[in-house]
């Protein structure tokens, strides 16, 4: 009989574009210390460690090994997973699996990225080799731009809607001391005045390259209840991959593709008795690398019907005070240390369920939350978190 698993502590760094004051191991150490402090535990209490990070981003082979001393891997079991952008999500999944299995009573899950020590775009371009795709990849940017223009055509979403999402993200970020971009944007007009990065994406539309780390501590039920009176249960998780789209990495002008998010959401909701997502789930933290994608994700995760994602933002439904808050932390548009990002999604949901999200705590009482991760090409990890099992 598998153990039930709960999150008993979370910690993250103050995410910034550059952290010249710390080395990568020191930066991860900050997040680990923060998580331990939150759980009131020490490394003695941690039985295993799971790391999520893509080695090419900082040009380090076996990056988890380099962190062994500073990140608490020293003399602990564990391993690193690397599934692209969803690496942190996969680390949470595997950590959860190992605690559920009974092999360990506690697990520390770490995601991190120190973007100032590497070149993300270059690394993403290296996901192709000269054998297939050299020179054709423009990193993630070109793909998101194409995806955005397809969405506008198919759904009727406008640049105003994208700007509204951007404004929502910034409002959340300004209330989240850990967020990276806290711009103080005042209006949709202000955003529409800013220049294009790659049409129709504006500089503001796209996530930053952040340096940061996030750690969560998982425990089996018996331990969890001893450690905290506010355990956040990992009720379920699902990972769905997919073959690359026929016509691009993220966009689907063909209309032929089945989306991994769709399959993941369908299965996850069905086996957890969720038939009306916006009612049965109280909030979500999604992995949306651009504000355009956030609107699309509303559809893929069944928060609304197809081609209607832009309506949710137009009606303010996904705001912090809204009926179904999405990304109250500012989301990925405000903060994206890639390896850490999925772990941040999980940590932020946990804080919301605990009522510990401070200024960006949502108005709705959060008993159930869903955290998602995105990897390339279009891989999905979803984690369902609950206050009560």
């Amino acid at each position: 009989m598998a153990n039930r698993v709960a999150i008993v502590g979370v910690g993250q760094t103050y995410h910034k574009s550059k952290r010249p004051d710390v080395s990568q191991p020191e930066m991860v150490n900050e997040a680990v210390r923060a998580a331990l402090a939150d759980a009131q535990l020490s490394m003695k209490d941690i039985e295993s460690v799971f790391v999520g990070n893509m080695e090419t981003f900082e040009g380090i082979y076996l990056p988890d090994h380099g962190l062994a001393d500073e990140a608490g891997l020293f003399m602990k079991p564990g391993f690193k997973v690397a599934t692209g952008g969803s690496s942190g999500g996969s680390a949470v999944v595997e950590g959860s699996n190992f605690v559920a299995s009974g092999l360990f009573r506690t697990a520390l899950v770490i995601g991190f990225e120190k973007q100032d020590a590497g070149d993300t775009t270059g690394a993403i371009s290296a996901a192709t080799t000269p054998v297939w795709g050299k020179g054709m990849a423009r990193g993630a940017l070109g793909e998101f731009a194409k995806q955005a223009s397809t969405y506008m055509k198919q759904s009727g979403a406008t640049e105003e809607h994208a700007a509204m999402v951007r404004l929502k993200a910034d409002r959340g970020a300004c209330r989240n001391p850990y967020a990276h971009l806290r711009l103080g944007l005042e209006s949709v007009e202000e955003i529409l005045k800013s220049g294009y990065l790659m049409w129709p994406l504006r500089l503001l539309d796209f996530c930053p390259q952040s340096s940061g780390a996030c750690a969560v501590i998982l425990a089996a039920e018996e331990e969890a209840r001893k450690i905290t009176n506010k355990p956040v249960w990992i009720a379920d998780h699902i990972t769905v991959h997919q073959e690359p789209f026929r016509a691009g990495t993220f966009g689907d002008p063909t209309g032929l593709e089945t989306y991994s998010e769709d399959v993941a959401a369908t299965k996850l909701y069905k086996r957890n008795g969720i038939s009306n997502p916006r009612k049965d789930i109280d909030m979500a933290e999604t992995y949306e690398p651009s504000n355009w994608q956030e609107m699309m994700l509303y559809e893929y995760y069944h928060f609304c019907e197809k081609n209607e994602g832009w309506k949710l933002i137009e009606k303010g439904i996904t705001e912090i005070e809204g009926e179904f808050p999405v990304n109250p932390s500012g989301g990925v548009i405000a903060t994206n240390p890639i390896g850490a990002t999925p772990v941040i999604r999980v940590a932020e949901c946990a804080l919301q369920i605990r009522g510990d999200a401070g200024e960006h705590q949502v108005t709705r009482d959060v008993k159930t939350a869903v955290a998602t991760a995105l990897g390339g090409p279009n891989w999905t990890v979803m984690v369902l978190l609950r206050r009560f099992l």
């Binding site: 004051d21 040009g59 054998v131 020179g135 054709m136 423009r138 990065l197 790659m198 026929r246 016509a247």
Partner: protein
């Protein structure tokens, strides 16, 4: 007012070349050979879903079956579905430098039904539009680099 001395960080730039020798394998190898020898694009078809696989390979990932050797020659003409224009240089690890591609990057639907991402010869943004007809412009010499044997796709009449 006294100015605080600013912290100096020691920077040690490390630039390393990491050479690789990638094998094309059998299936991609066939595509490479036809492109090099005959300026033709070929790929194989999945026996189950009947779709053309792109790139050619031994299995159909969607059907999860072996794909076999049903090879098809494809037209190198197609229609532009989407295009985008890179404005500033991005780091290209295959070149080891920042590169701003001169040519627009496009998703092209080849007449055979396969989607190909490649460059467009037409650089004038006024003249670019989705739906325009294009055809591969092949390198005349020194082919043998697979899809890079096509310089770009040039505009043709409807």
């Amino acid at each position: 007012m006294v100015k605080e001395p600013s912290q100096e960080h020691i920077k040690i730039p490390i630039a390393m070349s990491r050479p690789y020798r990638w094998a094309t394998g059998r299936y991609l190898g066939k595509l490479y050979k036809e492109a090099r020898d005959n300026k033709k694009l070929v790929t194989n078809r999945c026996p189950k879903c009947k779709e053309l696989l792109w790139p050619p390979r031994p299995v159909c990932g969607r059907c999860k079956v072996e794909a076999g050797e049903d090879w098809v020659e494809m037209s190198d003409k197609g229609t532009v579905i989407q295009y985008t224009y890179l404005v500033y240089p991005l780091w290209d690890p295959h070149v080891g430098d920042r590169v701003a591609e001169d040519y627009p990057n496009a998703t092209i639907l080849l007449d055979g039904g396969v989607y190909l991402v490649h460059k467009l010869e037409e650089k004038d943004p006024e003249k670019l539009k989705a739906g325009m007809r294009v055809q591969a412009v092949w390198k005349e010499e020194e082919r043998g680099q697979g899809l890079n044997d096509i310089l770009y796709f040039g505009t043709i009449e409807q």
